[in-house]
């Protein structure tokens, strides 16, 4: 289900989910583990989602007592390694949604790689806050 790519999967995705935003919050975050089984690094240069007009890769960064969100232009998955997108760290920020995301929603996220390939991922929406 998670590997329903249009072409041969470039990266392996595990535990992919969209966090149900608290009511009134208009942004959602998506998390997953991305594994690169290849002997070369792979670079995601763009992230798209069918639910949202604006999608960004963000890194939550704590600096002293303050928290910042750094925008990443690209995400490199090192060779034979995994990158963890998890609460409090790296996440995909879903903004300007064209529909309200609920626990019944399905979201398709697409990764565009620097070699021109695209990989689609289907995600369910979960609520881990309650």
């Amino acid at each position: 289900m998670l590997l329903a790519g249009q072409c041969v999967a470039q990266v392996q995705i595990e535990n992919a989910w969209v966090q149900l935003a608290p009511p009134a919050a208009k942004v959602n975050a998506a998390y997953m583990q991305i594994h690169n089984p290849r002997a070369q690094p792979q670079t995601i240069v763009r992230v798209r989602a069918d639910c949202c007009a604006m999608v960004m890769l963000h890194q939550t960064r704590k600096d002293g007592d303050r928290v910042f969100m750094d925008h990443l232009d690209q995400l490199v998955i090192p060779a034979n390694a995994s990158v963890q997108l998890a609460p409090g760290g790296l996440h995909i920020m879903l903004m300007q949604a064209n529909r309200k995301l609920t626990l019944d929603s399905q979201v398709q996220i697409s990764f565009d790689f620097d070699d021109g390939r695209t990989q689609d991922i289907q995600l369910n929406v979960k609520n881990t806050y309650q």
């Binding site: 966090q19 935003a21 919050a25 910042f68 996440h91 920020m93």
Partner: protein, 238 residues
């Protein structure tokens, strides 16, 4: 052992208080001594086997009384210093358009409230430092999702900046306008051309206010939910 330690600590606190009093003058000094020092109740520690040492909380050398302020709660009521009276409070600064950090933190604070199970004895204030996007109704829906004892707080940019500055909870907002990063400092209204896609860089500390309305310490992230609950219990039993 514990007694010796706390005495040492207490004497340090008092030395500091004396030094400050000397600098600020006798009048102000008298005020410091009359304010409830955090170690004043050490004689009341129930048994030596139950040390009142705090694990996650960091206490200020001396309590700092909150100045008067005017903000608005998520029910649309104007609130001031009285909102802190007669119960303990945990204060956290954030914003509702925060997809990652703030909901996680509010979830942790909701767990602390559940662990405490003391009804109205402890409240959590979630102060939005993003008043342009966090209207009252929005804030109400947002905080109620996490816990009924979480109060949403908003206000003018000026009032929010003063309130957060008192706690040392620095924040600012940053947007990309015409390809350049524009930083909007605390206290400044958001320029119209910024739109509604921007970042809020905010404090991660959870501040403790006692029932007398004094800021007494804080929890620095990351902390364990259980430890925060235990520390609050110790503080509330003093």
């Amino acid at each position: 052992m514990l007694k010796t330690l706390t005495n040492k600590k207490a004497s340090l606190v008092y030395s500091a208080a004396i030094a400050v009093s000397l600098m600020l003058g006798v009048m102000f000094g008298a005020q410091h001594f009359s304010s409830p020092a955090s170690f004043a109740n050490e004689a009341n520690i129930p048994t030596p086997a139950a040390p009142a040492q705090l694990v996650a909380a960091t206490l200020l050398p001396e309590a700092k009384a909150l100045p008067e302020f005017a903000l608005e709660n998520h029910r649309g009521e104007i609130i001031g210093i009285d909102t802190f009276r007669d119960h303990w409070s945990l204060v956290f600064f954030g914003f509702t358009s925060c997809p990652d950090y703030c909901p996680l933190e509010l979830q942790r604070l909701a767990k602390v409230l559940n662990l405490m199970g003391k009804g109205e004895a402890l409240q959590v204030l979630f102060v939005s430092v993003d008043p342009e996007r966090d209207a009252q109704e929005k804030l109400a829906t947002y905080v109620s999702f996490f816990h009924p004892q979480i109060t949403g707080v908003r206000g003018s940019n000026v009032a929010l900046a003063q309130f957060s500055q008192f706690f040392g909870a620095a924040y600012d907002r940053s947007a990309i306008v015409n390809g350049k990063v524009l930083t909007i400092p605390a206290g400044i209204n958001l320029p119209v051309d910024v739109g509604d896609q921007y970042q809020v860089n905010h404090s991660t500390r959870v501040f403790i206010v006692d029932p007398a309305g004094a800021f007494i310490g804080s929890f620095a992230a990351p902390y364990e939910v259980e430890q925060m609950a235990l520390d609050m219990q110790k503080l509330m039993e003093r």
